[in-house]
């Protein structure tokens, strides 16, 4: 009789424990689903915001283009075509594309290595990318205009920029035209980058960065036949595509 009682007791405890285990597992699962739902919703809301912002911008762009067409049509009807508009457009796009030399206030960074070390392409890219992120509107490296498709890569003892080789053993001069009101803060940000780099690199391979704000920086144009402007692999898209 006592053995039977004990068996009932243990049986009951086992049953309760199993039920408890199942409830616990279900509880965890429900919590996980709730957390997934919340993440999905945030992701979707970000996506919706991103699409809405971009659509608004695209709408403005189309409106501007439509106004341009209307103006040209009116000019055509009145027999008063203003060719200066297209010349101004050409000049503007030429500056944007890097085909025209430009000048204004900016910063100069002279990049070199102490001792016998040679500078690596990644340091040059790092400074250029930092200047770009800081809002530089035109950048040159050793008087080579940096455009969207400018290559900066090491090849043995040189660094190739726009197809031109520069010795890694010599200093690299990076110039940038930046918003005048941000000149000081950009110099400060570059000093921070310099200190961070100095901490990262071994003491026997010290990087040397000379940063200065300049009243006038001249950034040369990139020649249209430069390798950076190669478009031989780019075909126009037909209307029906």
């Amino acid at each position: 009789m006592r053995i039977r009682n004990l068996m009932v007791k243990y049986g009951a405890i086992t049953l309760i424990t199993v039920i408890l285990g199942i409830s616990l597992a279900l509880q965890i699962k429900t919590s996980n689903i709730a957390s997934h739902e919340s993440r999905d919703l945030t992701e979707l809301q970000n996506n919706v915001r991103s699409y809405a912002e971009k659509n608004a911008e695209l709408n403005d762009r189309n409106k501007a283009l439509y106004s341009e067409i209307e103006k040209l049509r009116n000019d055509q009807l009145e027999g008063d075509i203003n060719y200066q508009d297209i010349l101004a457009e050409q000049e503007k796009l030429s500056v944007f594309a890097g085909l025209t030399a430009v000048q204004n206030s900016g910063v100069t960074v002279t990049l070199g290595m102490a001792g016998q070390s040679m500078i690596t392409d990644s340091y040059v890219r790092l400074v250029v990318n930092e200047l770009n992120a800081l809002g530089a509107q035109a950048i040159s490296i050793n008087e080579q205009r940096k455009v969207a498709t400018t290559e900066i890569r090491a090849s043995s003892e040189n660094i190739i920029i726009n197809g031109v080789a520069y010795p890694r053993s010599e200093d690299f001069v990076i110039k940038a035209i930046v918003p005048p009101d941000q000149q000081d803060s950009i110099v400060l940000a570059l000093e921070t980058l310099k200190n961070a780099l100095k901490e990262q690199i071994d003491s026997d391979q010290q990087i040397e960065m000379l940063i200065s704000a300049e009243q006038k920086v001249v950034i040369p144009a990139l020649n249209e036949d430069s390798i950076a402007y190669k478009t031989n692999l780019l075909n126009p898209v037909e209307d029906h595509e």
Binding site: I69, Y83, E91, V95, Q137, P220, N235, V237
Partner: protein, 254 residues
């Protein structure tokens, strides 16, 4: 026997405490069920809104293509066909637009897709398991150094004025928010670009434990890359660039 009783009593106490906790938690869960239902409704609503916005985007892009073509045709219409200088000017403008990345282009290339680690857990996973601006910039530099002639991120064309940087969990490119997965399209020498990506030590490492970012690279023969989508911002992009005089250009020395 007394020992057995004690063990049973302690077990029962523990089980009851645990039951209490589960019951309490379940109560909270039931209370939050209403908000969970609301959550599901919000997800459904957001999905519908997204589909609608995607349709609007498609319409806007088609409108832009038609308007751009209309404007180009109109310029050729209003210009004097006999005047070679005027036609040359239009051809020059078309060429500059292509160089500057303002036109849609097509060619052989690759599509690289990168994404955060699946089910990224900020408490357990390293920060390198999510994609940052630097990962994207590194990838673009790698593609350009291997001959890419046109590049885009999530269909935003990379041009001279493109700035890429992180804002929270999203990446800003051409002043537009982009979210993972990041699809980077590049037209250029396919094999050279793919070999460089496959052999890149940084991306090889990032795909392994513990980072496990998601990465794929697919060659595509007729890849289409959009033109820069916000040409009306060009004036702002070059706001501080004054055209240099011949004298200033001559003084440049290297």
């Amino acid at each position: 026997m007394t020992n057995n009783k004690k063990i049973i009593q302690i077990s029962m106490t523990l089980i009851l405490i645990l039951s209490g906790l589960i019951l309490g938690s379940h109560y909270v869960q039931v209370r939050s069920e209403t908000s969970s239902t609301l959550n599901l409704a919000a997800i459904q609503e957001a999905r519908l809104e997204l589909v609608e916005l995607q349709n609007v985007r498609e319409e806007l892009e088609n409108d832009y293509k038609n308007l751009r073509k209309e404007l180009n045709d109109l310029w050729f219409e209003v210009f004097d066909e006999e005047d070679a200088q005027q036609l040359e000017l239009l051809d020059e403008l078309t060429r500059i637009r292509k160089i500057a990345g303002l036109t849609e282009v097509k060619g052989g290339g690759i599509i690289v897709t990168i994404n955060d680690k699946e089910n990224y857990d900020p408490l357990a996973d390293p920060i390198e398991s999510i994609i940052h601006d630097q990962n994207i910039i590194y990838l673009i530099d790698l593609l350009i150094n291997n001959g890419a002639q046109a590049v885009s991120i999530n269909d935003l064309r990379i041009v001279n004025s493109s700035h890429i940087f992180c804002i929270g969990t999203t990446v800003l490119c051409n002043n537009q928010r982009t979210i993972p997965p990041y699809e980077i399209k590049a037209i250029g020498p396919q094999e050279q670009m793919k070999s460089a990506l496959d052999a890149d030590p940084i991306y090889l490492k990032l795909q392994e434990e513990p980072y496990q970012i998601r990465f794929s690279c697919v060659p595509v023969n007729d890849l289409i890359i959009n033109g820069y989508e916000t040409p009306d911002t060009i004036t702002k992009d070059i706001e501080y660039l004054k055209i240099a005089t011949d004298q200033e250009i001559q003084n440049i020395s290297y």
